[in-house]
């Protein structure tokens, strides 16, 4: 076994996993706070990629796309929360789920109408193309960049959730929204922000993934399933779980691609089945949350 090839593959697995971490974190944050699973998450990932494509074609700059697209899609997410999801909080948890599922359906079709059904290639900016020598081998610069961006986002998120007043309120709100309301905190505004944040994270994942995958209206379906697998493995509602399981799944997929390419798409589901048998609450989940 060639060590360099092995490291290459490990590395591209980490980059793949980093994208999954973005998507799964968004899913987990929304679930942790609002108690709903956002089935439109994959579609919003896809919308993020297309928004990035669109902004990049308007401004001619990948950097603007990376900045503007997630914010715009996040704002759209807030609109969705306020207009569509909010009337459903008093109903069973299935109702917001079904609604976001219908929304995902509509978004895919809307993108097909706007941008066409064919996939669109999207290339990384000149400055991020090529490879870089890390001493142990040559690695594609763009994947390194993706890992860097995700690391920065994770640190920012950690600081925001653990070290600020906003984070304190969010964590308290996730534990007991009723008490928060009694204490005079506007929980509904908090939920709006959290939903926007979760959607923005997946949209950022979409923009980052665009140069690595073909951008197509269907790209969200697989990502949604992958994000679910990551969430189940990591443990529902656990942010640390989402990060660890995301990277784990990414590496598992790309390692399998190296040894048994035909098994690559299947292995993560097998991994999930194994976790369900051995530890139904997930690696970092508390028993009683969903399992």
């Amino acid at each position: 076994m060639d060590l360099e090839l092995f490291l290459m593959q490990l590395f591209s697995g980490l980059a793949l996993g980093a994208i999954l971490v973005m998507v799964a974190l968004g899913l987990t944050i929304i679930f942790g706070m609002l108690g709903i699973v956002n089935f439109a998450h994959g579609a919003l990932f896809m919308v993020g990629a297309y928004a990035g494509l669109w902004v990049a074609s308007l401004t001619g700059s990948f950097w603007w796309a990376l900045l503007i697209a997630p914010i715009a899609v996040g704002a759209f997410g807030m609109l969705v929360e306020r207009v569509l999801i909010r009337p459903l909080y008093k109903r069973t948890p299935d109702d917001p789920l079904l609604l976001t599922f219908g929304l995902g359906y509509v978004l895919v079709e809307a993108v097909r109408i706007t941008f066409g059904t064919d996939g669109i290639p999207f290339s990384a900016p000149e400055s991020l193309q090529g490879v870089v020598d890390l001493g142990i081998g040559y690695f594609p610069l763009y994947r390194l960049f993706v890992l860097g961006v995700v690391a920065v986002i994770l640190v920012l998120l950690w600081v925001a959730l653990e070290k600020t007043r906003f984070g304190l309120v969010v964590r308290a709100g996730a534990r007991d929204p009723l008490i928060m309301r009694v204490l005079g905190v506007d929980v509904s505004r908090l939920w709006l922000l959290v939903f926007g944040l979760g959607v923005g994270l997946t949209a950022l994942g979409g923009v980052l993934a665009a140069p690595m995958r073909n951008v197509s209206p269907e790209m969200g379906t697989l990502v949604l399933a992958e994000a679910f697998v990551v969430t189940v493995i990591g443990g529902m509602g656990s942010l640390l779980g989402a990060v660890v399981a995301g990277l784990l799944v990414g590496v598992a997929v790309s390692m399998t691609a190296l040894f048994a390419p035909e098994m690559a798409t299947i292995v993560m589901f097998g991994l999930m089945a194994l976790i369900l048998l051995v530890r139904p609450q997930g690696l970092f989940g508390r028993p009683g949350v969903g399992a």
Partner: protein, 331 residues
């Protein structure tokens, strides 16, 4: 007989589960067969009627799990497509006759449902939706990879059933009308079976699990076994619909296993009304009618279906039939 399936007081029912009562409940099987008999004569095309038959039964099977047991699955394409593929492969690769092949198809989808069910009922609530979706994706990708057996992306071909000998009669399956009534027999049998299941003590048990799992457990029901059995029955019925679609189309497209197929059945069941006997068929009919009419003037009929679905979740969560029933059952 309606006392078993409608024993729960109205106040305990979740808002979206509304069952028929009285006349509609007592005569539900003969009534639905009568409607199915006239369907090809009243719908714009016979192709549409066959689709309503197949997807209606698919939704009925799905409804057993979602509407009556209260488990929201997003992976039922695995059983529909699984039944279709196994029937097709039994004919194409093993040269089985149409009837044994259908039996094998239904048995295969039941086994698949037992495996996926055993894994996914280990989780609850929202988790359950995610696990069923992920496991059905596993089935999809397995079929995609095993292209020697399944034809991969091109779908499974080469198993046309042109005629079927039934009790001395020869049914010409190339004639659309004969095919419709041939397939209708299976749908009718499946509906009768569902009706019996719902009227049995087991039917009461699955509704008890839906209404209050903890209380059902406290009453001595084995909740896990009830859920699993319901999952298997639901998978088997969807498998029947799948084998019917294989016989009907003479090919199995890979799409039969796709997430999209799972989505369609969720929407049909919701549009019609989950937890009612006729609801899924009404939903399948409405869904396919929208598709039929809207696709005449736009290729993006899915946008219309999606918007209609969102409006239903927001304003008519009981679905068309469920709302009618609730209005009829009002005190």
């Amino acid at each position: 007989m309606s006392s078993t399936s409608h024993a729960a007081p109205a106040a305990l029912r979740p808002p979206q589960a509304v069952g028929e009562a009285g006349f509609l409940s007592r005569w539900r099987v003969p009534l639905s067969i009568a409607v199915l008999c006239v369907l090809p004569w009243v719908l714009p095309s016979q192709a549409l009627a066959v689709n309503v038959l197949i997807y209606g039964l698919f939704a009925v099977g799905y409804n057993l799990l979602f509407g009556y047991t209260g488990l929201l699955s997003f992976g039922h394409a695995a059983f529909f497509g699984g039944g279709a593929y196994i029937t097709g492969m039994a004919i194409a690769h093993f040269g089985l006759g149409w009837f044994p092949a259908m039996l094998v198809g239904v048995a295969g989808s039941s086994v698949l449902a037992a495996v996926i069910g055993a894994l996914s009922i280990r989780t609850r609530g929202i988790y359950f939706c995610m696990v069923t979706l992920a496991l059905s994706q596993l089935v999809y990708y397995t079929a995609l990879q095993a292209s020697n057996w399944t034809g991969g992306e091109n779908g499974l071909r080469g198993f046309t059933v042109a005629k079927a000998d039934v009790l001395g009669f020869t049914v010409n399956l190339l004639d659309p009308m004969q095919k419709y009534y041939f397939l209708m027999v299976f749908a009718a049998l499946a509906l009768w079976f569902v009706s019996r299941v719902l009227n049995s003590p087991f039917g009461a048990a699955i509704e008890a699990v839906r209404e209050n799992e903890t209380r059902a457990r406290a009453c001595g029901y084995d909740v896990e076994r009830t859920k699993l059995l319901s999952f298997i029955l639901s998978g088997a019925l969807c498998g029947v619909a799948g084998t019917m679609s294989a016989i009907h189309l003479s090919i199995v497209p890979l799409d039969a296993l796709h997430y999209h197929t799972s989505s369609i059945v969720v929407m049909m069941t919701m549009l019609g009304g989950a937890g009612s006997f006729f609801g899924p068929f009404v939903g399948a009919l409405v869904f396919l009618l929208i598709e039929d009419v809207a696709s005449l003037w736009t290729s993006h009929w899915q946008l219309i279906v999606g918007v209609v679905f969102i409006l239903f979740v927001l304003f008519l969560p009981k679905g068309i039939w469920g709302t009618l029933i609730a209005w009829r059952n009002r005190p």
